[in-house]
C-alpha cells in the first residue's frame, strides 16, 4: 500500500462521511413531506367504493330476502311477517360481521338500495357472539305480536265493512283468528 493510496483512503472516508451526514442532516432539519398519518387523531380519506361494515336502513328495506339468498357465507339472516297493509314487516335483521367477507354481493343485489357498505372498519368486541349486528333493536316477539294485532284489527275492520256493505243482518262474525306469522 503506497503512501498515496493511504492518504487517499483517509480523504475518501472523511469526505464520504461528511456527504452522508449532510444528507441526513438535511432530512432531519428540513422535513419535506409528512408521510405518517397519526391514525386515531388524523384519518386518511375513506374512498367512495370502500367496502366497510354493512349497514341496512330498515325503514326502506322491503324484506325481499335477496341479500340472504346471495350471501356466499350466510352471514345475513332476516325474519319478516306480512303486515296489515300486505307489506312485509321486518322482525329481525342480523348481520354476522365475523363471517362477512365484504364481497359486496348483497349490496349489489338489494332492490331498494337500503343495504350499503359504510366506511367503518373499526370495531372491537370481547366475544364472538358480539360480532352479530342487530339492526332492529326491538324484541322480535314484541313486533310479531304487534303485527298480529294490527292484522287482526284490520281483518276485523274489513269484516265489519263487508257486513255493512252487504247490509244483511247476520249474526256477529266470529273474531278472525290471528294469521300465523309468515316465515321466510
Amino acid at each position: 500500500m503506497s503512501m498515496k493510496s493511504y492518504i487517499n483512503d483517509i480523504w475518501e472516508a472523511v469526505t464520504t462521511t461528511a456527504k452522508g451526514m449532510r444528507i441526513t442532516a438535511r432530512y432531519g432539519i428540513d422535513v419535506k413531506e409528512e408521510v405518517t398519518i397519526q391514525y386515531p387523531e388524523q384519518r386518511g380519506p375513506v374512498f367512495e367504493r370502500f367496502r366497510g361494515f354493512l349497514s341496512n336502513d330498515v325503514k326502506t328495506c322491503i324484506s325481499c330476502n335477496m341479500c340472504v339468498k346471495i350471501c356466499p357465507v350466510d352471514c345475513i339472516s332476516l325474519e319478516a311477517v306480512r303486515g296489515a297493509d300486505k307489506k312485509m314487516v321486518l322482525v329481525s335483521y342480523d348481520i354476522n360481521i365475523g363471517r362477512c367477507m365484504y364481497c359486496g354481493l348483497c349490496v349489489e343485489v338489494c332492490p331498494p338500495k337500503s343495504l350499503v357498505h359504510t366506511g367503518g372498519f373499526e370495531k372491537s368486541m370481547l366475544g364472538r357472539d358480539e360480532m352479530v349486528l342487530h339492526f332492529i333493536r326491538e324484541d322480535a316477539e314484541v313486533i310479531r305480536q304487534r303485527v298480529a294485532r294490527q292484522v287482526a284489527e284490520a281483518a276485523a275492520k274489513a269484516a265489519e265493512e263487508a257486513r255493512v256493505a252487504e247490509s244483511q243482518p247476520k249474526p256477529a262474525a266470529p273474531p278472525a283468528s290471528a294469521p300465523e306469522p309468515e316465515k321466510k
Partner: protein
C-alpha cells in the same frame, strides 16, 4: 470533598466527633446525585435518539406517553423493571448475574471525574484522564463475561468481538486525549479545562490550539464511538447479524443495566471530548471565577451540558447516517489508520509544545498584535 467536610464541621461543631461519617454521607449523596443523573440521562438519551432517528427517517418518533412523548423513557423503564428476569438454564449463573453490574460500574465510575461545572466535580483526581481510561476498561471485561456466561453462540461472538474492538480502540482513544494533557501539563480534567480559558474565548480551546490537536478531536470522536460500541462500530451488538450480541439472553432489569451503561458511556465520551477539546465549562470571553459561587457553578454547568449534549446529538446523528463496518474493516481502521495517525498527532503536539513553549496558534497571533 475535604473542604466541604471541613465547612460542615465548622458550621455544625457537634459533627466533629465523627468527621469520617460526614465524609461518608457526602460521598453517598454525591454518588446518589450522579447515579440519578446517569439514569435520567440514559432515559433522556433514548428519547433523544429516537426523536433524532425519526427526524432523519421522516417519521415522528415517540409521541404517545406524555407531551410529545417526553415520558416515554419512564414507561420503558417501568416496563424493564417489571419484566421477568430470565436466566437461561445452561448459562453460568454467577457470571451471568455479575456481567451487567461490571459493565454499569465501569461506565458509571467514569462519572467521578466528569467536570460538570466550575467546582462541580465528584472528585478532581490528579490522574483524571488516566482514571477514565482505566475504569472504562472494566466494560470490556463485563461484555466478554456477558457473552461467555450466556452460553449462546451469538452472545459469545458478540463478546469476543467487543473485547477485540474495545482493546484495539483503547490505544487511539488514549493517544487522542494526550494532546490535551500535553497542552495543560496535567491529567486532571479540571486543570485541562482551566488551561483553555482566558481572553481568547473559543480560540482558547484545545481544538484550535494547533493543527494536531484539531485533528486529535476528530480522531478521539471516531475512536470513542468505537469504544462505546455505537454504530458504525457496533459489531459487538450488530442486531442484524448477531441478534444484538452479548445482551441477547438478558431481559428485565439486567438488560436495563446494559442499556443505561451504553448511554452513560455516550455521555462520558461526549463529556471528555468537551472537557479536553471544547473548553469544558469555560464560558467564552467570561471568567466564571469572578461570579458568586452559586451562579458560577450554575452557568458553567449550563455551558458544559450544552456542549456535551451537542456532542451527544452528533454521535446519534452519526449512528443514523453510517452503515456498520465489517470486522476486518474495523480492525484495519484501528491498527492501520487510527493508531498511526494518533501517534503522529501525539508526536506533532509534543514538538509543538516544545518549540512554541506551549502556546497555541491563537495565542501566537495574539502576541504578534500585542
Amino acid at each position: 470533598m475535604e473542604q466541604l467536610t471541613a465547612l460542615i464541621i465548622q458550621k455544625v461543631p457537634a459533627l466533629a466527633v465523627a468527621p469520617w461519617a460526614v465524609t461518608l454521607l457526602l460521598i453517598g449523596i454525591v454518588a446518589f446525585i450522579i447515579l440519578q443523573f446517569a439514569m435520567v440521562f440514559a432515559g433522556f438519551g433514548t428519547y433523544l435518539e429516537r426523536k433524532i432517528a425519526a427526524d432523519i427517517q421522516g417519521r415522528i418518533g415517540p409521541n404517545r406517553v406524555g407531551p410529545i412523548g417526553l415520558l416515554q423513557f419512564l414507561a420503558d423503564g417501568v416496563k424493564l423493571i417489571l419484566k421477568e428476569d430470565i436466566i437461561p438454564t445452561a448459562a453460568d449463573n454467577h457470571l451471568f448475574r455479575m456481567a451487567p453490574y461490571l459493565i454499569f460500574t465501569g461506565s458509571f465510575a467514569a462519572f467521578v471525574v466528569v467536570p460538570f461545572g466550575f467546582s462541580l466535580i465528584a472528585a478532581d483526581l490528579n490522574i483524571g484522564i488516566y482514571y477514565v481510561m482505566a475504569v472504562t476498561s472494566l466494560v470490556s471485561i463485563g461484555v466478554l463475561l456477558a457473552g461467555w456466561a450466556s452460553n449462546n453462540k451469538w452472545s459469545m461472538l458478540g463478546g469476543m468481538r467487543a473485547a477485540a474492538q474495545i482493546v484495539s480502540y483503547e490505544i487511539p482513544v488514549g493517544m487522542a486525549l494526550i494532546p490535551a494533557v500535553l497542552v495543560a501539563g496535567s491529567l486532571s480534567t479540571q486543570d485541562i479545562i482551566r488551561s483553555q480559558g482566558g481572553f481568547l474565548g473559543i480560540f482558547g480551546w484545545n481544538l484550535f490550539h494547533n493543527p494536531f490537536s484539531f485533528f486529535s478531536f476528530f480522531l478521539y470522536m471516531v475512536a470513542a464511538l468505537a469504544e462505546t460500541n455505537r454504530t458504525p462500530f457496533d459489531i459487538p451488538e450488530a442486531e442484524s447479524e448477531l441478534v444484538s450480541g452479548y445482551n441477547t439472553e438478558y431481559s428485565g432489569i439486567r438488560f436495563g443495566f446494559f442499556f443505561m451503561a451504553e448511554y452513560a458511556d455516550v455521555f462520558v465520551v461526549s463529556a471528555l471530548a468537551t472537557a479536553c477539546f471544547l473548553g469544558g465549562w469555560q464560558i467564552p470571553f467570561f471568567n466564571a471565577a469572578s461570579l458568586p459561587a452559586v451562579w458560577a457553578n450554575l452557568l458553567s454547568l449550563g455551558v458544559f451540558m450544552a456542549k456535551a449534549l451537542a456532542l451527544v446529538c452528533v454521535i446519534i446523528w452519526i449512528r443514523w447516517t453510517l452503515p456498520r463496518l465489517r470486522v476486518d474493516q474495523l480492525m484495519r481502521m484501528s491498527w492501520k489508520y487510527m493508531v498511526p495517525l494518533t501517534f503522529f498527532n501525539f508526536l506533532g503536539v509534543s514538538l509543538w509544545v516544545l518549540i512554541f513553549k506551549g502556546k497555541g496558534i491563537p495565542q501566537l497571533i495574539a502576541s504578534i498584535f500585542g
